[in-house]
Structure formats: C-alpha cells, structure tokens
Amino acid sequence: MSQTITRSEIRHGIGSSPTRPDGAAKAAGEYAFSSDLFPDEALFGVTLRSPHQHARIISIDTSKALAIAGVFAVVTADDVPGKATYGLIASDQPVFASDVVRYIGEPVAAVAAIDEETSRRACAAIVVVYEPLEPLVDAELACQEGAASIHPDGNIIRHQHVLHGDPTVKGDVVVEHEYVIGMQDQAFLGLEAAVAFPDEDGGGVDCHVATQWLHEDRAQVAACLGLAEESVRLTLGGVGGAFGGREDISLQVHVCLLALTCGKPVRMHYDRVESFLGHVHRHPAKIWMRHHATSDGRLVNIEARFLFDGGAYASTSSAVLVNAVTHTQGPYQCPNAVVEGIVVRTNNLPCGAMRGFGVVQACFAHEQQMDRLAEKCGLSPLELRRRNAMHTGDTLVTGQVVESVAPVTECIDNLAALPMPGSTVGTHSYLLPGGAGNTTRSDNVHRGVGWAFAIKNLMYSEGFDDFSSARCRLEDGRITLKFATAEVGQGFITIAAQIARTVLGIEAVDLDTIDTNVGSAGSTSASRQTWMSGGAVDAVCRVVRERIFEHHAAASGCNPLALAVEGTDLVDTTTSERTPIEEVVRGLTIDEEVVYRHRATVHLDERGQGNCHTAFAFVGHRAVVDVDVELGLVRVVEIATAQDVGRALNPLSVTGQIEGGIAQGLGLALMEEIIQEDGRIKNPSFTDYLIPTIADMPPVVAHLIEIPDPQAPLGAKGVGEPPTISSTPAIIAAINDAIVNATGSTQKIHRVPVRPLDIVEAAYGGTAD
C-alpha cells in the first residue's frame, strides 16, 4: 500500500539561483557604492603623493595650504597619533612618508577642505623639499648581495626554498625556460572611497568604507590612530569589485585621521589615476623552470626559481611568494623538487594580493612547461597531463598530503569531451582578430587550441588563525543574519540567506548591516568566504535549529534527536508527523553566534616542507583562439572550462565567478599591464590600461564538477580564483598552437600579456620587417 506524502519545499534554498538582494538596484544604477556616500556636511579629503621614486624628504611646509580659506586640516606623518606604519603582514608602510619616499605616489600629506577643488588647491600649495636618491628598480639587482637597501627591513621580503625528495634526479627528457608576467591591476570599477564620522568627543570614529576585511582594517586604523579597537567602528560601504586590491589599507587611516582632526565628517574618494597609485597590484614576476620527465612523460623532478618584484612595501608579498613556490608542480604528481623563491623590495609600485595570489604566476610557468614537455615527449598536451594528474592522497612538493577531493582527471576528461566551436568561414570581420578595427578577414586567420590546468589553495595558509563569525537571530518567524563578511560583488549575501533557508526551513531571511558589531569574518579573499563564512552561517543556523528542535520536543513530547527539517516542515522521523516550521517557531526568539575555524596549518620550514595549506580546488581551461599572426592580433573564440566546485550552492553565482574570472585571465593574457617607466605609470587610466570589453570576451562553456568535499561545510569549495588562474596559460597555449598552424614555427610566447609583436616574432622569427 502506498501513502501520499505532501512534501513542502523551501524556495530560494541551497542549489537554487535566487536573484541577488542588491541586483535590481545595481542594474538600475540605484545602488549606493561607497563613492556615492555624500553626507551634506562632509569635508572632502585629498592626498598629496610623492612625485619621486626614491627621495629624502628635507622639509614639508603646510602653511600656505592652511592659509587657504576653506581648509580645515593638513596632516602629515607628524600628526599620526599612533603607530606610524601599517601593513597586513609586516607593518612597514608609513601612513605618510616622513623621512624617505619609496615610490611615485606614496602619500606624504592629506588635506580636508570644504570641497574637492579647495582641497586640491591646498594640496598643490604644500611645499615639500625632496633630495632625490638613486632608485632601485630592478628586482634582480635588489636581491644581489651588497645591493643598497631601500628600507630599514632590507630589500628581501622573503626568500623561501622548497626542497623535496631527491633534487638531483635527472629526467630522460628535460625542458626549461624563463617566463615573464607583467604587473596586472585589479581594475575594480568602484573606486576607493570612504566617509568618516568622528565622535563628538573625538574619542572614536565611524568609517564607511569599501573594503575586503572590516576587522583587519579596524585593527590597523586603530593602531595608527592610537585608539582602542572598539573606538573605531567600520561599516561596509557599497563595494564595486575588489580582487585583492582592497585587502590593504588605502585611504582608511587618512580619512579617519582627517575626520578626527577636523571634528567633522570627511569623505575621500580616489579617481582612476589615484586608484592605480593607491592600491597594491599583482606581482610582476620572472620565473625559470626546468622540468625533468621519463621518456613516456612522467614528471620526476622540477627545478624552479621565482623572482617577484614586491615594490616599495611588503603588503602580503611573503604569502604571495609562498603560494607561488608551493604551487610549482601544478595539479600533477612530482616526487622531487628544488625550488627557490625570492620577493624583494624595489622603488616600484607596491604589490600584494590579486585574485590567484601567486598561483597565477606559477601556473603560467608550469603550464607552458607542460606543453613544452608534451611536445618533446611526442604526446598530446592532454595525454601528458593525464599521465601526471594528481589524485586525492598524493603528496605535494611541500610534503603535504592532498586530502581535498582532487578531480584532476575528471577536469581533463570532461574538458576534452566538450564540443569545439565552429570555424571562422563567413564570420563578420567584427568577430575576427582586430574586431572593430577592420584589420582581418578569415583568410588572414589561423586557429589554435590550448589547454591549461591548475591547483589552487583555498583559505589562508601558514598557521594563520583564519576564522569567521556569524550571528543568527530568530524572531517573529523571521531570521536575521549578521556577519562582517565583505560583500564585494561575489554574492555571499545571496548564498548566506540560501544556507539559512535550507538549514532552518524558514524563507524569511533578513541581512543585518555588514559592520564591526559582530566578530570578524576574515577577508573576502583566498576563495574562502563560501567555505568560511558559509561555514559559519551554516554552523550558527544548525545551532539555532537544534534549539528549535528542543523547543518543539519540549512542547510536543517527542525526541529532539528524531527531528529533521524537510522543506518548510519539521518532521518527526519516528512518526512521520509534519509541522510547518512557521507554527513551531511562533513566539520563539533565539539568538546565537558562532565562530567557525578551519584546520590548523603550519609555517613552511627552511626546506619548504610542512602542511601549510588548508584545502585545494582544481580547474581546467580550453581556449580556442583565432590569430592573425601577420599582425599579431588575437580573438578568443571560446573558453571552455571544467571546474571542481565541490557543490554549487548557487549555480548562477558560480557561473558569474567563472565568467568574470576568465575575463580577468583573458585580460592578463592579452592586454592588461601597468607599464612603469622609472617608476612612473605610463598608462594610469582606462584609456591605456585596457581591460576586456564585451567584444573581447568570448562565450564560456562551463562544466561544473560537483563532488562534494567531505571536509568543506556543505561540500562547497571556493570558486572565485581558479577561473582566473589557468585561463591565461590556456589562451597563450592556444596562440602557440595557432602560430604552429600558421607558419610551422614552434617558437613560443613566454610572456604575458602577449603583445602583437611577440606573436609576429614567434611566428616569423626575429623582428618582422
């Protein structure tokens, strides 16, 4: 006999793709980004920056600026009441330069005045006398013994070896090359902006700011202001993208200091030019690798050297370097390795976090190496990678065993199975290389296909106490979640509510303000918030659910252990009796907060050994490109990807991360580079710092590999960084393939972004005439 069960379903729970809560406002242009915060009475703050790459400050005269009507304050290093410096790992970066400036754009003073124009005039009236010093611009020179030191902490920010197995092992087949990666900018569209409101008694400050990590900002700001952390209260201002560029302090200390000095609200926002100076960038890198393999293509040893230019201050350079060196092998097995990594200070722009965090650079090198190896072994790029694919339980060159689900073979096979896009015949010239420029017809085009794969660590590494907090309040049948997780566009606010709905069976979920009135959520970076803050929300909702079970059990006399949430019902699994949860929670108020932590990690030892990472995700990309090799122009036709996501909590959000990440990877492959000459940015605007447009971004075909990771909360891995990592080398591999198809040349591109002349030269050898 069968029985009909009416199951209830929760709407907008895990696995669905509800609309973002801020989506409509953003689409309509009504969303308030932090640069849209204009309190009526606020003064406008402007930063004075160093025009020198390296110089001693002899004197600063602010009197003329202060004499300008409408100027409320001019602050310099002398006015910083607390710690003179800040920094995410080492506190080495001055709030304002006092004795020496170390890069063009380093803050020297800040002004607050009644409006922007007055502030800018006052800035221009500050007289700073500099004595220029010899700049150190070459990372290779900076790490040489006897190099002049440009910072009291020395030039070398970190020097890390990784020595694993028998580093003397030689392969039957050996390939080596040097690779160069240019400096990429995060190029978020929402520029740096903040508003600070001083307490009436001057004892504290409220700051609304676009950031990735409210609590870390608060700690650094409070230290510099000489205030207790509780006296500095941060609220997330609307964030228009971050990509690592908002992990460090930019204008936070300046705006709060000006507000406290003036006793009035102060707002600051950068324009695009200042933004390029005001945040850290992706490290430009020079990477040499030598891969040893058996004649049938099995890796036996990797030798490598990484040299990263950290720029003037340390930021997260040491962690970026560790990520790079520990990802040398890529998603492959390799028993032996000898790796050296160095990141140095120079008088160039400071570098730090950017989506992919060191792994972008490592992956570009190891994937080009794998292609060279395949060619030399006479294997297809995919077959070579299949033979070396990493699996769960394999050991990394750091000695760490990969416990995460490691579906590298699945990435390769699923990607290989995706159909190829059609040919260019009959294609309008707009869709060919050169695009709107009308340069190219299909008979000028050669097609190429390239593949690349990546492994990426998730969460923070090397012993960092990486946690996230979340609060859940049940009242009047509604759930309110509170967390300090920075929503930077990635969609955490959407999935947080989805998690709460599914766990609690309650659809009405409100989100409280994102601010420092709750424990830290850690940074929105390292692909960590779905895992960490998602984990915290899941955990706190489960605590609340237990309380609901206990409440129901007490009221109905059932066994709380037998209760389950199914859809919007509470089910007594012993009797099959269903009660709508909204009835169960009527009149019930519960308020809980939890802190979620991931497993502990350790610092690498001298030989680069240790369980320094938390977990890993994997990804593969296939790029199909059309190349006009004669002009060196490229049109990416399609990017296909297979990505290990664990479980897609919100498939649309995952797709968004994949497409956006690929666009950023495409940008690095083909056009995005900050070009410095004597430390000055030659292209500090969107006129010349080019990011892909819709005419450059091809269709993306994404295959999600959903094998829930048993160690991840809800089985879901972070998905934000992997799309950016191997898309770049896949595009370059495809260009290399097109060059072979066009001219038979096996010369390869070894630098990103690739420039038209690089392609012409690789195809035709030497400088084309």
């Binding site: 922007e116 050169g434 695009g435 709107a436 002009l631 006129t687």
Partner: protein, 291 residues
C-alpha cells in the same frame, strides 16, 4: 563657470567674439576626459555648447560638385546611418572603429578634427579623402585643406574666435577603406591606422597613416608607385609591386615607441594593412567589373 547654449551658428560666432577664451563643447567625449584629468575647470572658463545649433548637425550632398558637406556636429552614429554612407565608405569605416556605441552617439567629426590627435580615426580617413574644412568667425569665413589645418600633434590653425562649421568630403569613384590596429577588439586608441582610397576615375591612390607620426601622414611615394603599378583595366597588381608599395608606405611612417606599442611594430602594421587594403580594394573592384 558660464555655459552658453546658442541656437544658431551666428550666435556661436558672436559669443566667440565676446569670449575668445571660451571652450567649444560638441559631444564632449574629448573635452570631458580632459576636464576629469585636471579635476575640473577653472571657474573663469566659459563654455559654448553646440548641442542646440541644429544647422551644425546637418549634412548635404552636392552631386554636381561631387562633395558631401558634413556639419561639424555630425556624430559618428549619424554618419554610420547616413543614406550616403557607401559613398564615403572610408570615413564610415573609421566611424565604426571609434570608441563604443555610447561614444559614437556623442562624439562628432568636428570634435575629432579640432582635437587633431595623430590617432584620430576620422581625421585619418578624411586626410586620405582630401577633405576641406569650412571655418567661420564673426569677421568672416575661410576654407582650408584638413592637412593644412592640422599643424602638429593636437595643434591646429584654428583661431580662438573660429568655429569649424563643416567638412567638405569629395565623393571619389572607386574604392576606399579604413583599418586600424588596437590590442583590444573595440574601445581602443589606434596603434596604427591606414586609410586607402583607390580613385578609378583619376587612376590615383591615396594613403593616409594614423598614429605613426606627429600628425596624420600621407604616404605620397607609395601612392605614386602604386598608382603607376596598378593595372587599372584589370584592377590588379603584381605581388612584388604590391609589396614594394606597402614597404614604401611603411617608410613614410615615422612612429615612436611608447607604452602602446613599438616603432618597429607600427611600421610593420602599416605595411601589412596597406597591402591588405589595396589587395581588398582591387579584388572588390575586379568583382564589381567596369563601372
């Protein structure tokens, strides 16, 4: 800062006479970028906005004179959609390469010319077409060849009290086209641009080069050589002669190396584009048959 919104050219001229330092504002796509970069304008600068001067947005075709007269405020979009677009194809193709849809909706031919950037796409096409400019001031009007008007990078012979009223574009029998190189597929400043006009009536060739010198350059030696070597009856040219002509065009270029590209690549690009455009032109003309 005062902003004037005149309705007629006449009013523009008297305003210019009264405020010789005023800034003319057409689509604003160059002006506003400049203002942004210098964080606003000085209070005393006055602005004369041309948006209400409808006569400047008109175009007329004079069939007897074989010219198209384009008002200075004709936008790139208007040009792309104009009924005569096939007859000034080179300019229309240049229009198509300008910025994005939004920029083309606002940006004007007059603004492009007055800005006089060596990377100006419209200017390059117009130089190949031997366009003439009409300028007016309160004291009179003058006509000047575009090549004479542009005196240097972002420099022109415009007097403070003058407004460009129109661009006179000859209608050429034959074939014409424009191509430009940028490392992005749209919204990009030209690294090198080439406009080619094959005049079947006069059996002449004109070639203008953009972004490879301080101003738009005419590749006169290449023009002469190609005009001589083209078999105008068959609309063909030998491969060697075409290569030579393209090489001469590259020789005419005097590019610099900057953050956008290198001198070597720019020369190379000029050569490849010249060759391709002449080739495309002759192929199209041959297919079209005797006209």
């Amino acid at each position: 800062m005062p902003v004037y919104l005149p309705d007629t050219t006449e009013e523009v001229l008297s305003l210019l006479a009264a405020h010789p330092n005023a800034m003319l504002l057409a689509g604003g796509t160059d002006v506003m970028v400049g203002i942004n970069h210098q964080h606003g304008l000085r209070q005393e600068t006055s602005i004369i906005a041309l948006r209400n001067v409808s006569e400047l947005s008109r175009y007329t075709i004079d069939d007897t004179a074989s010219t198209i007269s384009l008002g200075a405020s004709v936008t790139w979009t208007a040009l792309e959609e104009a009924p005569f677009v096939e007859r000034v194809r080179c300019l229309a193709e240049a229009a198509r390469t300008v910025g994005s849809r939004q920029i083309r909706n606002a940006g004007t031919i007059g603004g492009n010319i007055a800005t006089a950037s060596p990377a100006g796409d419209g200017v390059c096409a117009l130089v190949a077409l031997d366009a003439q400019l009409m300028l007016s001031s309160a004291t009179g009007s003058r006509q000047i060849a575009l090549t004479d008007f542009v005196t240097g990078p972002k420099r022109t012979s415009r007097a403070d009290n003058e407004v460009i009223t129109s661009v006179e574009v000859p209608i050429v029998k034959g074939w014409q086209s424009y191509a430009k190189i940028g490392v992005r597929n749209a919204m990009v400043i030209s690294i090198a641009g080439v406009a080619v006009v094959l005049n079947t009536e006069h059996r002449s060739v004109s070639i203008a080069l953009g972004s490879v010198g301080p101003v738009i350059i005419r590749a006169t030696e290449a023009e002469t050589a190609l005009a001589q070597q083209i078999d105008w009856e068959r609309c063909s040219i030998s491969a060697d002669d075409l290569d030579d002509g393209a090489r001469l065009a590259a020789t005419a270029a005097s590019p610099i190396t900057d953050h956008r590209s290198t001198a070597a690549y720019r020369k190379h690009a000029v050569q490849v584009l010249t060759k391709r455009l002449v080739q495309r032109g002759l192929r199209d003309l041959a297919e079209r048959g005797p006209s």
